[in-house]
Symmetry: C2
Subunit: 454 residues, 2 copies
């Protein structure tokens, strides 16, 4: 980092935080269609003010994706990916400060989206602005796409990637970023799990009924409970026939990568508020399960009366939301077909299945040249060996579409201001301001590397 840049960053120490507060103050909950148009306007404005030539990428039924182009001294092109939408903030009553009023407590900025992933938008913007102010043109050409449907599974990103594949071509893609681990090692994530998100609905009686007749009436709630119980053993194994058939065992290279990760179990236990992990897993076994096991998670469950006190009702309907996290080479369409077949075979063909989101698992090989380049940069920045995650727990559903229609290699580099305890998707989501500051410096360091075309 040059002295001029260091001095600029010191004198503009609050720029990234101010940007982040501005972005987080604007709600953008795609699942509830809250504030999306205003957020798209704000993002386009911020990119434009930062020197990007912007345009809106439209596909039928989706909020616009914002695309920005910033030509550099070389035509080596890095595609940046982010999303401007956030998860719903419910339950509001668990937030210590309102989710859309960014609040700093104890060196942390609390707001929905601060960690996932408005913090990275702010860090990338602040770095680019600093580099341009101090050094003018960047050594590398940046293309930046910021979509608005990531938190509902990017249902239109395939259409977008297909329609705009020429725009999205690049030498490498920096996905939504990772950060630094508890030992300050830069983290690199080589892929994400796939996703199948379904809602199950079932009806018993046609209307809610006095529960005094429960001995002779079908119960939607019991039917849902008993159907769900066929999906997963109490010990955790998923019981849908064929669910594990396509699962690739981890490679030697991947096992070595997770063996090289820092031990963050204490931080993880604290972040999740648990005393222990399932099956008392620790060490390599814990990381292996975390990295390579597909899941069947109940994300929501609803039937009947859920208010205070008692109501003696036999509910007419029951609903469950389930997300399956998939690993190579599982495919969401195949898992959905197997779920249908399983419920039919178990006698639950009256349960309606609605698929809300599908994504393929995607993993970039660790020997890809762009990946090796980023690893060098991260090592140089931190003086530490990067900690490599072969496949993350979460999902970036757009990656399957990027791979299919654009073909650009990518990874999560440590440009995001997040950590284990950031509460992504949960109440009191936050980032540490010191992480934000480091993310700005890392992005500056990365984007000013002169010889991308070597």
């Amino acid at each position: 980092m040059t002295d001029q840049l260091t001095s600029y960053l010191e004198s503009h120490a609050h720029d990234a935080q101010a940007l982040l507060e501005q972005i987080c103050r604007q709600p953008s909950v795609v699942a509830q269609n809250m504030g999306m148009a205003e957020m798209a306007d704000m993002v386009e404005g911020l990119l434009s003010e930062s020197g990007f030539q912007t345009r809106r990428l439209h596909v039928e039924g989706a909020p616009p994706a914002i695309f920005g182009e910033l030509p550099g001294r070389s035509d080596y092109t890095i595609l940046l990916y982010n999303h401007y939408d956030v998860q719903p903030a419910e339950p509001y009553d668990l937030w210590l400060s309102p989710p859309f009023e960014p609040t700093v407590r104890d060196g942390k900025l609390y707001a929905r989206g601060s960690s996932d992933n408005k913090g990275e938008i702010a860090a990338r913007l602040a770095a680019i602005r600093a580099l341009r102010a101090v050094h003018g043109e960047l050594p590398v050409t940046l293309h930046w796409i910021i979509e608005g449907e990531e938190e509902i599974g990017s249902p239109h990103f395939a259409a977008l990637a297909e329609k705009y594949s020429a725009l999205l071509k690049a030498d490498g893609c920096l996905w939504e970023g990772s950060s630094f681990d508890a030992a300050d090692r830069p983290e690199m994530t080589m892929g994400t799990r796939g996703l199948l998100y379904v809602q199950l609905d079932v009806e018993g009686t046609g209307i809610d009924t006095h529960s005094g007749a429960a001995s002779i009436l079908p119960s939607a709630a019991w039917r849902m409970v008993q159907a769900l119980a066929t999906l997963r053993a109490p010990e955790g194994q998923i019981l849908i026939p064929g669910f594990y058939d396509a699962v690739l065992p981890p490679s030697e290279e991947q096992l070595a990568a997770i063996a090289g990760q820092s031990n963050e179990e204490a931080e993880m236990r604290e972040a999740y508020h648990v005393d222990r992990f399932v099956d008392n897993l620790t060490g390599a076994a814990l990381l292996e399960r975390y990295s390579f096991a597909p899941t069947c998670n109940i994300a929501g469950l609803l039937s009947g009366y859920t208010g205070e006190g008692s109501k003696t009702v036999l509910p007419a309907r029951a609903m469950a939301k389930i997300d399956f996290r998939l690993v190579p080479n599982q495919h969401p369409d195949d898992i959905l077909a197997k779920l249908h077949a399983h419920l039919d075979a178990q006698g639950y063909s009256d349960i309606r299945i609605t698929a809300f989101g599908k994504a393929e698992p995607v993993v970039t090989p660790m020997h890809d040249p762009f990946v090796r380049r980023i690893a060098d940069i991260a090592r140089d920045f931190s003086g530490k060996e990067p900690s490599v995650t072969p496949i993350a727990g979460g999902t970036l559903p757009l990656l399957g579409s990027l791979r299919r229609f654009v073909g650009v290699p990518g990874l999560c580099a440590p440009g995001n201001a997040t950590y284990w305890g950031s509460g992504a998707h949960a109440p009191n989501e936050h980032i540490r301001l010191s992480d934000l500051e480091r993310a700005v410096r890392f992005n500056c360091h990365m984007f000013m590397v002169p010889d991308w075309n070597r």
Copy 2:
């Protein structure tokens, strides 16, 4: 019925409906503490205007019960029981007209509480007012207690019955009433099921968490589903060890009573919006299951995200509300102990059990003199043989307390304006106005019988 009374009722044909609309317009949801004080005032005022000497019966922690005394020409005393509270009206969006704005459509009055049981309060009041206007003093002394906690299981009625047992002494008690069946036969109900209402709560992680970590974290939702699945077989049998131990098989007298009931299966299917009953039951087998089978019903189920669309969250908590309907000689304390023991034995001792309501099953013998007297009156009124239900599906939790502390024999006589399709406890609860009119006439007929002391 005398000519003067008939003529009075004709010229005051809308009195009962006007009373009912007044009472239903006032919300009184005890579970949500909504409008209870206002409703108590209104009920006391209405009794007082009708000639009753009123007082409030107070026990710690309960809304006041309203007690009224109306001396008659004899000291033969009938205790009337009703409640002024109603069930919660949720879900509001399923109501075709607002639940607390009484609305007449197609000869039916829609409002929360219209069937259960403000309709009977209105019918009893209208009958008493008519009798007093036409004939002056009644031939019988009436004591009337109207409590405010029936819909949450009358948690303070035992304390009340113990404290005021002298006031409640009577020759017979008319519980919350029954009506007339589809063949216009008067219905008499000799008892009600017991109740155990519990809420189950469980936690997994300490906070809601990104579901990408689901492979290594405990899931509250799965734990609840799997614990619930141990309570009841998919075929309906309750699996808690010892649950059925105390169940008395129906007596010959009781089997004969249900064999004598009218066939209302078509009306029941229509009311419940079902094509068939569980196990395709019909006829005597259906009535026997309905009358004598205890139940384990899921009244509510909640975990995680239940809004529109998708949210990929691992919920920290899960909740279930369960009501058990009990038959002689099951006891709620015994069932609660067995539920605890079962969950412990299955490894679910982390699930917290909160008991909201308990009631014993109570059945009055059909050969009781007061019961036989009411049967004669009902037969005389209608010209038809009463249809006798040995034990109802629903619960009047106060009955155990009345039996224990007061000892008065009782039954549900056909003084209520309800029917199969009335939607008690459900959206669009209503009564037929023709039923209301008949309930007024039946109450007049019953209360003017001259020779109660014979």
